[in-house]
């Protein structure tokens, strides 16, 4: 996987799925349509100011609330290349892994990166670099089990392989 590099959009703790993608848009599963409304209720400018490759940086419990996979789908389709947070809510985290949106838990990075900083991420090592400030941080590595899913490209190709092996 290529290196991830982009500007950081920084949010606080407990960013929940109701603000990542409000329920009023859930009658669509279309990724581009969802992306247009991503983060709209906490940051109405989000879709407009975003550049492809940008990263979201947030505090504790990112993605708490509903199981709606529309949340990571909207974030990914909006052009975000990775989410870095202090911690993740578990369903958001598994959804992100399953659909191939890199989600890195790193309290140190979450506490230090400021809005607009340029950030680079090396997924293989979990190394996060703050290019603007010349600092770097180490994210928790994925357990071997999850690495298999990530390396397969997500749960769909992973399951396809498992079924073929039966």
């Amino acid at each position: 996987m290529s290196e991830i590099r982009g500007r950081a959009h920084v949010y606080g703790d407990n960013v929940n799925t109701d603000v990542i993608i409000p329920a009023r848009y859930l009658t669509s599963s279309d990724a581009d349509e969802l992306a247009r409304h991503c983060m709209e209720d906490i940051d109405p400018e989000f879709a407009a100011k975003l550049k492809p490759g940008d990263v979201i940086v947030a505090g504790e419990n990112f993605g708490c609330g509903s199981s709606r996979e529309h949340a990571p789908v909207a974030i990914k389709a909006a052009g975000i290349s990775a989410v870095i947070a202090g911690t993740f809510a578990r369903i958001f985290f598994r959804n992100a892994i399953n659909i191939g949106l890199p989600a890195l838990a790193c309290p140190e990075a979450a506490g230090d990166i400021e809005d607009g900083d340029e950030v680079a991420v090396d997924l293989a090592s979990g190394r996060i670099e703050n290019v603007t400030r010349g600092r770097s941080y180490q994210a928790e590595p994925f357990p071997a089990f999850l690495r298999e899913i990530v390396e397969a490209g997500g749960l769909v190709p992973y399951t396809r392989k498992r079924l073929a092996a039966r």
Binding site: N14, N16, D18, V19, P22, A23, R24, L26, T27, S28, S29, D41, I42, E60, N61, C64, G65, S66, S67, R68, E69, H70, V73, T87, A89, R90, I91, R94, N95, N98, I99, P143, F145, L146, I149, G154, L155, V156, Y158, T159, R160, R162, L163
Partner: protein
């Protein structure tokens, strides 16, 4: 070292003798659930996987409950997709409008959940079924797709937190108050990734309805699952809805817990959680004088017959305040029918309330009671996040049915003992 009920159920479903928290397993899933928001995406991913048939149609349940009766054309298309898929794949347990109701109230009532079972649902409140001593957790749509294709789901074995409720509940205090109080102590991330195991005399004395309310909101503390060891209450409930065999599990006395939380019920008043997080719970007395525009009684948290009875007890012979809209939503078809038979429906309508057909509608701001800018609701639902019930500048206060009903009459937040 002993094992927790959660570890035992996961071990039994992954053919592993020993399991430790933190370990990953491929678990055999006894029942998998999707709804009209999450199933369409799951069906798409099921096709992307290249699976032609469900691993086992009998283990799949699909429920049309979120935007139903179809609120608009898009919602109608989503439901149609589920309906067509169910026909194509022979899903006998597709619950359409008028047949089912809100999934987490419906599945236990239909006898689809039993102690010791392992259940996933593409809905975060799937953790509700832990009330019956099952392992149940919310997953995403792609997880559901993979489980539909293989019958299995990857899971990380969680650490457990034991929450012991001592003593007796005060008058009117129910499962909702017990769980809101606990979330207030632990915080919305206090049990992140962990199992919340509820026990103690106050839990033993709680009926199945209150237990379902409690496990329903385990996710609101970030938990993977909520669970209560099966006892005589469980046995009686399960036997009233199904006669199939099951293997109950319970925690060993020397099981290891990440944390033990002791709560004395003498400290628990009727609770209200102020926006924007369920952890902002406090005694109803601390938020009196908060005027409201709407009261909602329903949802998978508090839309069962016991909840409607409690609300009706408060509302009987009284009128909803002139400035308040009261919306009552029986959680399922059976609850609706029972409410009619017992005369509860009449009490709600006579008091000036609007009685809805079973739906999630207002709970997630989908339809049937969306809030305008600046409006405030008290609701028996489970989330009070920004914009949850409508406009981003509207507010939701969470409470149990007695407080919601009393507030509807008072025109402000308050408990039933304040009514004349």
């Amino acid at each position: 070292m002993g094992r927790t009920i959660t570890e035992k159920i996961l071990a039994a479903h992954s053919a592993q003798a020993e399991l430790h928290p933190g370990q990953f397993v491929m678990a055999r899933i006894d029942l998998m659930l999707g709804n009209d928001v999450t199933a369409p995406l799951a069906i798409e991913e099921f096709r992307n996987i290249g699976a032609e048939r469900l691993a086992d149609a009998a283990r799949v349940v699909l429920v049309a409950d979120h935007a139903t009766p179809n609120k608009d054309i898009e919602a109608a298309q989503q439901c149609r997709l589920m309906r067509d898929f169910s026909r194509e794949q022979g899903v006998g347990r597709f619950y359409d409008v008028g047949r089912g109701g809100i999934e987490h109230a419906l599945l236990p009532e239909e006898g689809l959940v039993a102690p010791g079972e392992c259940i996933i649902g593409a809905d975060s409140h799937t953790c509700t079924y832990g009330a019956l001593g099952a392992f149940a957790t919310g997953v995403g749509s792609t997880d559901l797709a993979a489980a539909m294709a293989t019958g299995e789901c990857w899971l990380r074995v969680p650490e457990s937190i034991k929450v012991v409720y001592r003593g007796e509940r005060k008058e009117w205090v129910g499962g909702k108050d017990l769980i809101l109080y606990m979330i207030g102590k632990l915080g919305v991330a206090g049990a992140r990734y962990q199992a919340l195991e509820f026990c103690g005399e106050a839990i033993e004395a709680l009926g199945m309805s209150g237990r379902l309310t409690m496990c329903n909101m385990a996710i609101e503390a970030g938990a993977k699952n909520g669970i209560i060891a099966p006892d005589a209450v469980t046995e009686e409930y399960v036997r009233s809805v199904t006669d199939r065999d099951y293997t109950p599990q319970s925690s060993d006395p020397d099981a290891a817990y990440a944390q033990v939380v002791e709560i004395d019920c003498a400290d628990i008043d009727l609770q209200v959680a102020v926006p924007p997080l369920p952890e902002n719970s406090r005694s109803v007395r601390d938020v009196e004088e908060t005027p409201i525009d709407q009261a909602v009684i329903g949802s998978c948290t508090n839309g069962r017959i016991e909840d409607l009875r409690e609300a009706a007890q408060v509302l009987e012979g009284r009128s909803v305040h002139a400035d308040v809209r009261l919306i009552v939503v029986p959680a399922t078809r059976r609850v609706h029918l029972q409410a009619i038979r017992e005369g509860l429906a009449e009490i709600f309508v006579e008091a000036g309330g609007a009685l809805s057909t079973p739906t999630c509608g207002p709970c997630l701001g989908m339809h049937m009671g969306v809030l305008a800018q600046g409006e405030r609701a008290v609701a028996t639902t489970n989330r009070n996040f920004v914009g949850r019930m409508g406009h981003p500048e509207s507010e939701v206060y969470l409470a149990g049915p007695a407080v919601a009903a009393a507030s509807a009459v008072l025109g402000r937040i308050g408990g039933p003992e304040e009514l004349p």
